[in-house]
Symmetry: C2
Amino acid sequence: MVKSSRESGLERAIQILDCLYEHGRPMVVNELAAAMGAPRSTVYELTKALIGRSILDHYGDGGRVYLGRKLFLYGQAFQDEYSLLGLAEPIIDLLAKESGERAELCSNVDWKQCVLYMAEGQRPFEYKSYPGDRYPLPLTATGRFFIAGVDEETLRQRIPEEDYYLNGRRRITLEQFQADSRKAQEQGYSVVSGLVDPYLAAVAMPITERSGTILTVIGFTFPSGELAANEERFVHLLRGAQAEIQAALSSLDQRGGAK
Amino acid sequence: MVKSSRESGLERAIQILDCLYEHGRPMVVNELAAAMGAPRSTVYELTKALIGRSILDHYGDGGRVYLGRKLFLYGQAFQDEYSLLGLAEPIIDLLAKESGERAELCSNVDWKQCVLYMAEGQRPFEYKSYPGDRYPLPLTATGRFFIAGVDEETLRQRIPEEDYYLNGRRRITLEQFQADSRKAQEQGYSVVSGLVDPYLAAVAMPITERSGTILTVIGFTFPSGELAANEERFVHLLRGAQAEIQAALSSLDQRGGAK
DNA sequence: TAGCAATGTCCATTATAGTGGACATTATGT
DNA sequence: ACATAATGTCCACTATAATGGACATTGCTA
């Protein structure tokens, strides 16, 4: 069971970045190795290499390490080129303003729903959310779209069992999740209520390429109580934003995004 | 000469990220391999792995790849934790406002001077500069501090010969560069004129830990003509900012930056 | 249509890097 | 003071991943 599988250096390096990212704070190399269940010698070697390239940085006086300046630069470069983000931001802002609710742009990263951009609504919100936050796919409205067309085998492999649970209680089954996904695709939008939080609901709509590939998903988050009265309005608003973003994207594609 | 040195996967992966970063645009995998002088098969394998982890993303319909969403998230996490940046930004802003000149916060990344944050001055500037921009160390005022205490052997290895040249003409020798560096350390600040651009000058001052390690360098960039009349004033302003940033940093250290 | 270059996939070989474990050093607590 | 844990370094071994090259596919142009 504890068969010490030998992983590639790149894999280990990514695990290091992910581990630091998930902990959200500088860690001692030893602690890091323990947290990822990797050999200490390996992690020491790799951190040394990564620090040499400024992908990791030393923090504080001691031996704590964390995500480095190079990653900051990569992130900036991403923003400059990932036109979808820059182009969608003002539209998301407008969504939040028109609806008064929190609007988000989400993406599928490592089989988690991941907030890339968020605009706060009028509502004084107890439930916080920031770019970079990640949630289990089965508990989110956006997740319904990310698993579209993915076979069950893959889903079982990639989405961990605990992602169907909240506070130790199962919220949904894979079968229900898939059924939800099919329904969402048919009607073009997805609604979820009380999954990730008993008092929260969400409506989501995908942004796709012409080929049909899903790029991201936009959506609202709001108190469950508001759902019945506003679902239609939210869907209408999202549809407008969806059209606007996709039009902007394809006109950008026309002009050929660089050689 | 063309001895095909076998590199580690991690090393190759970093080369891929750097290559994309430097080109600043999505590239076809083949083109990428050619640009970095690496075996095509290797680059195909690695890009596949990196795309699977969202560290690279497909761009456009075709096979072009570029820095991915995951890097964006890492970058955000870096900003959240790298208190130096958040803490220095308002101070840099103030510097630019008080002096009327462009103020920058720079760091040493891969032996290049790299702009992490910049505040524009009053001056309508022809010479642009953005966070993420990188310059050869020998041509920058900040570079004087980054090579402090580094032995000549290392410098020869890490700083490529062309970094001493501008438009094919040598601007400075390693010996002069080192002499500059020693002088800068003695007087606590560094002045450079007409190196990276015939009509530009810069004044810089380091931000160090209590241990003396250089974290970053702050500085002004302005027309060479202004140097004589304003050097003293700039140094004075920088000294104030330096003290302020370092005080904020050490008080932060006191309260222990997380376990 | 054929010809040629660019792009993407696959596989056997072997240099090398990930691993485990021993050792050295530094903190921490009693 | 001692004991114990935590942290960092070093090294021999071998599983494995980087490599070169062959092959398949697509796009372009003549």
